[in-house]
């Protein structure tokens, strides 16, 4: 607990007490509704803000919660608490069923699919008259009963709803803050980077989508009790838009944003009542304005909380790599008629630096992508430690000890160095061990003094080193580097070479794809030269540099070009 939180909490409690002492029934009712929407928004933040999926079914889940509650309490005499649990369960099951086919879709198809589901729910609500009461809906939903105490409207409902808000906020905080939050940032902003550090994005999205539906159902259930009526309006697209507006105006990720959004979306219509029907136009205009001037919503004006560095390692501890080997045999990948990788066989082992060279289009990047699992092979096998991994996903391979740094640093701009590294560390490690691993990873690439620097303030060299640090934080056995020296000055390249050599001496198997021969030739133990998707030469660097075929297809051109440039 920081002092800020305590002061903030104090102010909020004081305001709440003041409100309760002075407010009439009408204000209490509005604030209860605001709390209900806050719960729905907290849920929606998990889907939109944290998982980054544009779901348009949040309103439908709200409606499902309201209908299940309405039906069970009026037609089956269930008490409110049991009905709410049932509503949560129905929404969760529905969301889980929907998630399986839908969550793998691209954004625009995901939006359409969730919208289609919402429309089906709405049509059912209107037309399945025997169960839902059709256009008239369900009347006489009794007040909520908790532990056989009836929660009357007015302050009992207000306190209950806002207690539920606190619980929901706790749930959101638990699932989306700290290291979990960093991994969510990584998966949302830089999905490929998330794959290669071993984050299971499907599981993340599934969990958040189902939780978002559960919170929507809780909100719907509360509203059924609060209003006493469930009509098809709760499944209407307008309600989805209300939740969307509240989330975007308040802020997509911050709990405070959900509270601001929930309160505003309920109170604005009341404050603008004088404008009659025109207030709804202003409502759309407000949404537009917020998107343009405050993309992070109102809560975005408060500075972001950063994870603090809790451990520093100097000098770096030795890496604890296992004896590992990566082997590919007769690996093939075709893109249409282009044979990008055409039967490559290679072996990479502990303590060795293997350079991969070849002209543009020779298949170097495709080989890296195949080895890390970002693309699937058409033929051949990849074996990691005598276990075949050819058909395993990138994140599974990453968890098995394969790490990679990208040519163009793929980092979350708003993270600090420390956070970018922490994001790569599996949640199964406790915080002490995670901090140790992160500190060690930073120290290995000489970033230890910069833990608190923002990623967007790093130099190109710093970004390159951070890419490697993030890969090291997964405690890999094998490290793949894609053109690590590209764009660096001679002095920076020399420093990087020292770092990479030290990592290999510590026991990592390192694969380096590189065009800079000045950097690679002295560094690599073995070099593989590719041309047109095939290995044309393998051997020690000195030998490869003299190989006539390699000179002919690659190095020769390079030297001639250097001569040309020198003239």
């Amino acid at each position: 607990m920081t002092r800020q939180t305590l002061i903030g909490g104090g102010v909020v409690s004081a305001l709440a007490v003041l409100f309760m002492a002075n407010a009439g029934g009408y204000e209490m009712r509005l604030m209860s509704l605001a709390g209900i929407y806050t719960i729905a928004v907290l849920g929606y933040q998990m889907a939109l803000g944290h998982a980054g999926v544009l779901s348009l079914a949040q309103g439908a889940f709200f409606g499902v919660g309201a209908y299940v509650t309405g039906i069970l309490t009026t037609q089956h005499n269930l008490d409110g608490a049991a009905a709410m649990l049932a509503a949560m369960l129905v929404a969760a099951v529905l969301a889980a069923l929907v998630a399986i086919p839908v969550l793998r879709l691209k954004t625009h198809y995901f939006a359409l699919a969730t919208l289609a589901i919402a429309e089906v729910v709405h049509l059912l609500a209107v037309n399945w008259t025997t169960v839902t009461g059709g256009a008239n809906g369900i009347y006489g939903v009794p007040p909520l009963v908790l532990f056989s105490i009836e929660i009357a409207s007015g302050w009992p409902l207000l306190v209950t709803v806002w207690s539920a808000v606190a619980l929901a906020a706790g749930l959101v905080f638990w699932r989306t803050s700290g290291r979990r939050g960093l991994r969510l940032d990584l998966a949302r902003e830089t999905p490929l980077a998330a794959d290669v550090v071993g984050i299971n994005r499907r599981r993340q999205r599934f969990e958040l989508f189902v939780l978002s539906a559960i919170l929507a159902a809780v909100a719907g259930s509360f509203q059924a009790h609060a209003i006493g009526v469930v009509s098809p309006a709760v499944t209407d697209f307008a309600l989805m838009v209300t939740i969307l507006v509240a989330t975007l105006v308040g802020g997509q990720q911050r709990i405070l944003g959900a509270v601001i959004g929930g309160i505003l979306v309920i109170h604005l219509p009341e404050w603008f009542r004088a404008f009659d029907v025109f207030y709804l136009i202003a409502y759309g205009a407000a949404l537009l304005l917020v998107i343009i001037v405050a993309p992070k919503g109102i809560a975005g004006f408060w500075p972001r909380r950063h994870l603090q560095e809790t451990h520093a390692a100097q000098p770096p501890p030795a890496l604890c790599c296992r004896q590992a080997s990566l082997h590919c045999a007769n690996l093939r990948k075709h893109f249409g008629g282009v044979k990008a990788v055409d039967g490559i066989t290679a072996r990479f082992t502990t303590g060795q630096i293997t350079g991969v060279i070849g002209p543009n289009g020779s298949g170097k990047s495709t080989l890296l992508n195949l080895l890390t699992g970002l693309i699937r092979a058409d033929g051949g096998t990849i074996t990691l430690d005598h276990k075949e991994v050819t058909s395993l996903s990138a994140d599974t391979r990453a968890r098995a000890g394969l790490a990679r740094a990208f040519q163009h640093p793929d980092l979350v701009r708003e993270h600090r160095v420390w956070e970018a590294v922490m994001a790569a560390i599996p949640l199964s490690k406790d915080s002490v061990q995670a901090a140790k691993d992160a500190a060690a990873a930073c120290a290995h690439v000489d970033l230890q003094g910069q833990a608190a620097t923002l990623v967007e303030h790093l130099s190109p060299e710093g970004l390159r080193r951070l890419e490697i640090a993030r890969a090291l934080a997964t405690v890999p056995d094998i490290l793949l580097l894609d053109e690590p020296a590209a764009g660096l000055t001679a002095a920076e390249q020399d420093r990087l070479a020292v770092t990479v050599r030290r990592l290999a001496d510590d026991g990592l198997a390192i694969i380096v794809v590189e065009h800079g021969m000045r950097f690679l030739l002295p560094l690599a133990d073995t070099i593989i030269c590719l041309d047109q998707g095939q290995v044309i030469a393998t051997g020690p660097a000195a030998e490869i540099a003299e190989n006539p075929e390699v000179i002919d297809c690659y190095l020769g051109r390079f030297e001639e070009a250097a001569k040309e440039a020198g003239k």
Binding site: P101, L123, L287, L288
Partner: protein, 293 residues
């Protein structure tokens, strides 16, 4: 039973859906974002038609035999201007931001359109002008005129996109904005022109639908969904596919509605889309890896 009447009705509906879907896909190609307000612009076109037709009937002495056809150019022009305003509000301020931002700004514009219609015209449905008077071309005349008008406009659009330098610039800007800018095409202006064109098409769809299907402020979501589905079925970003998808939806909807009920037709359509996306997550004919919405 399914007779020629049903097929003509399906053709008329399909013609309107095709126009809306064409506008939808033009904007997808130009800015990589879904225009969530496309359906609301169909609705807006309907109201423009209602207003223009009533002005026409008040200010002309002779009864106009084809009011819909007479005001058609006016609706196109008015909606094109509105489209320019739309792009200035929803796209220009956000063009350096991810497509998701544009997606949401179009939702905002959709809300404003819907609520404006509600404020100025009320929630009750209104009837737009008939395309041609029944006396002139028989009972199916209106629907046949819908089909004919849509065919002419689609053919003109095809000619514009494929046969003129303007069209080539437009397509180049959509395909690769940076490259287009590098060869001297005014990309921003092309994108604005795309918005004008897309919204004019939506408005025309609104005019065509306004007589038989009436106009209501809440119509937008349904029309937007139809365009969205048409583009999904026809292949994301494909212009011809959008037309085919729209026709398929209209035939499906009309036939199921005739045989069973309108509600079932809509429900089945949504279920069908979900099934398609389940089996083919990349869309029915999808292959193009475009920018995302």
């Amino acid at each position: 039973m399914i007779g020629s009447e049903t097929l003509i009705a399906a053709g008329g509906l399909g013609a309107a859906y095709a126009l809306a879907a064409l506008g939808f896909v033009l904007i997808i190609n130009a800015v990589g974002a879904v225009n969530f307000a496309q359906g609301d612009f169909v609705m807006a076109g309907g109201y423009v038609a209602v207003v223009a037709a009533s002005w026409l009937s008040q200010n002309t002495d002779v009864a106009v035999i084809a009011p819909g056809l007479v005001i058609l150019p006016l609706v196109l022009l008015a909606m094109a201007v509105i489209g320019l305003g739309f792009s200035a509000l929803a796209y220009l301020p956000l063009r350096r931001r991810p497509p998701m931002a544009v997606f949401i700004s179009t939702i905002a514009i959709g809300i404003m359109l819907r609520q404006s219609a509600n404020a100025f015209f009320g929630a009750a449905p209104q009837a737009g002008p008939v395309m041609v008077a029944p006396g002139l071309a028989g009972n199916n005349g209106h629907q046949l005129a819908m089909i004919a008008a849509a065919l002419v406009v689609i053919a003109a659009l095809h000619g514009l996109l494929n046969g003129t330098q303007f069209g080539r610039h437009l397509r180049a800007s959509a395909q690769d904005p940076q490259m287009a800018a590098a060869v001297g095409i005014p990309v921003t202006r092309m994108i604005l022109a795309t918005f004008a064109l897309a919204i004019a098409l939506a408005g025309l769809a609104g005019l065509l639908l306004s007589h038989q299907y009436l106009v209501q402020p809440d119509d937008g979501t349904t029309y937007m969904l139809k365009a969205y589905i048409a583009v999904t079925l026809g292949g994301w970003g494909r212009i011809n596919g959008a037309v085919a998808g729209a026709l398929a939806i209209a035939v499906f909807e009309t036939v199921v509605a005739t045989l069973v009920s309108q509600v079932l037709a809509e429900m089945l359509l949504y279920v069908l889309v979900l099934a398609v996306l389940w089996v083919r997550p990349q869309g029915l004919f999808g292959k193009i890896e475009g920018r995302r919405a």
